[in-house]
């Protein structure tokens, strides 16, 4: 019997958090709550009493803190999946540019300018550099 050699772990992708089994397990409660926001009555219940609503879904302390802080990267670190988090963002009237700006620590206008710069043919790397350094 030979011991199979495990495949080498793939090189991480900078600024990217793959939603894999570990993340899915860690984030289940948070994603479960966000999935409930497909129902307008649940969105209203969250807005009426955020604490009670989060408690109902047994959010972990890290998940609860990230939601309270409106900290998108924190939610992702706590296992949140962006498609589900987008439903939470929608409650606050935030679109994907707003969420992009929150995650990259820039203004929404600067984030949009970075997208438009790519539309003019700039690479992401160049457009991102300009966004960070102005």
């Amino acid at each position: 019997m030979t011991t199979p050699i495990p495949a080498p772990a793939p090189q991480p992708i900078e600024g990217t958090h793959l939603f894999d089994g570990a993340a899915a397990a860690k984030g289940f409660e948070l994603n479960d709550m966000c999935y409930s926001f497909n129902d307008a009555a649940n969105r209203a219940a969250f807005l009426a009493d955020e604490d009670a609503y989060c408690a109902r879904f047994r959010l972990t302390p890290a998940q609860r803190k990230a939601v309270a802080d409106r900290d998108v990267l924190g939610m992702i670190a706590a296992g949140g999946n962006i498609y589900y988090l987008a439903k939470l963002a929608g409650i606050f009237g935030l679109n994907v540019q707003d969420v992009g700006a929150l995650q990259t620590g820039t203004s929404v206008d600067a984030f949009k300018a970075m997208l438009l710069a790519q539309g003019r043919g700039e690479t992401y790397e160049t457009a991102h550099k300009e966004m960070v350094h102005g």
Binding site: T16, Q103, T104
Partner: protein, 280 residues
């Protein structure tokens, strides 16, 4: 005998639905994108499909993470849209083609694809927006559908190679179907984009062009990267190109001709693309 008239590929960014709803098609931001559909309208009017096989991905409307099928096939008489969490107006329902669904399901399982079958399946913007773009303003969709939902949400995702093979197996199933329908294949989503993480806003025009240049002539070129490398090149949500690859497989292995392409950056956070292909 049924005929595959060709394939239509398109991005499905939710904001497109908002632009349609608000009538913004001629605004400077949107016009270069919507202009790419004139040719799609003309082509559809000419080839007159009555069935669409659609490869798309659910965004947390029908499937939650408690049960996440890798490949799900619809076998419903009707498919409905529902509130995706944003309280937007609902999209029109779709008529299913249950007999064809079950024919394809039987053929796929016979071919050793262990798919999930769905007699109820909500469909989200990933299916509705491509139809709104293709047949704007119609009262009811002129085609019945057989929808496929591919897991592009929770890793591990199916490989590009497996998605191409799935599509090719669907093609084989369509060849043994005894109906006389005119079938269009649809692949939705992409191209490069990333919504989450510090790399949010990432797009990759070089990789998108590689995908578009090869999809018609050498789709296997898109299957050499594993999913991790596709995420690196296309972005976390750009991996929706898997839907395009499966759709290309369903066009079959005989030569196909690209008859239309439009590529516009950005629409929302996405490099938006539209393509049409026909059997050569």
């Amino acid at each position: 005998m049924a005929e595959i008239v060709g394939a239509y590929f398109t991005s499905h960014v939710p904001a497109i639905g908002g632009a349609i709803h608000k009538g913004l098609q001629n605004e400077p931001y949107w016009k270069p994108f919507f202009d790419g559909y004139q040719k799609v309208h003309e082509w559809l009017a000419q080839v007159k499909p009555d069935v669409a096989i659609v490869f798309n991905n659910d965004h947390g409307l029908n499937f939650f993470l408690d049960k996440m099928p890798t490949f799900a096939v619809g076998a419903a008489a009707e498919y409905h849209n529902a509130d995706e969490g944003w309280g937007l107006p609902l999209y029109k329902p779709f008529a299913g083609h249950t007999e064809l669904s079950w024919h394809i399901i039987n053929a796929l399982v016979e071919d050793e694809f262990d798919i999930t079958t769905c007699q109820k399946m909500l469909v989200d913007h990933a299916l509705s927006i491509p139809f709104e773009l293709a047949w704007p303003g119609v009262e009811a969709w002129p085609v019945k559908i057989v929808p496929f939902a591919i897991n592009t949400v929770q890793h591990p995702l199916p490989s590009a190679k497996r998605c191409l093979a799935l599509g090719q197996a669907v093609h084989k199933a369509l060849e043994s179907w005894q109906g006389n329908e005119r079938i269009v294949i649809i692949g939705t989503g992409g191209l490069s984009h990333q919504l989450d993480g510090e790399r949010a806003g990432y797009m990759n025009q070089q990789y998108d062009r590689f995908c578009m240049d090869n999809l018609s002539v050498d789709p296997e070129a898109l299957t050499h990267d594993n999913v991790h490398e596709i995420v690196r090149k296309a972005g976390t949500q750009g991996v929706e190109v898997l839907n395009w690859i499966a759709a290309r497989g369903a066009l079959g292995e005989a030569p196909v001709t690209e008859i239309h392409r439009n590529y516009h950056v950005p629409i929302s956070n996405t490099a938006a693309a539209t393509m049409l292909m026909e059997p050569a």
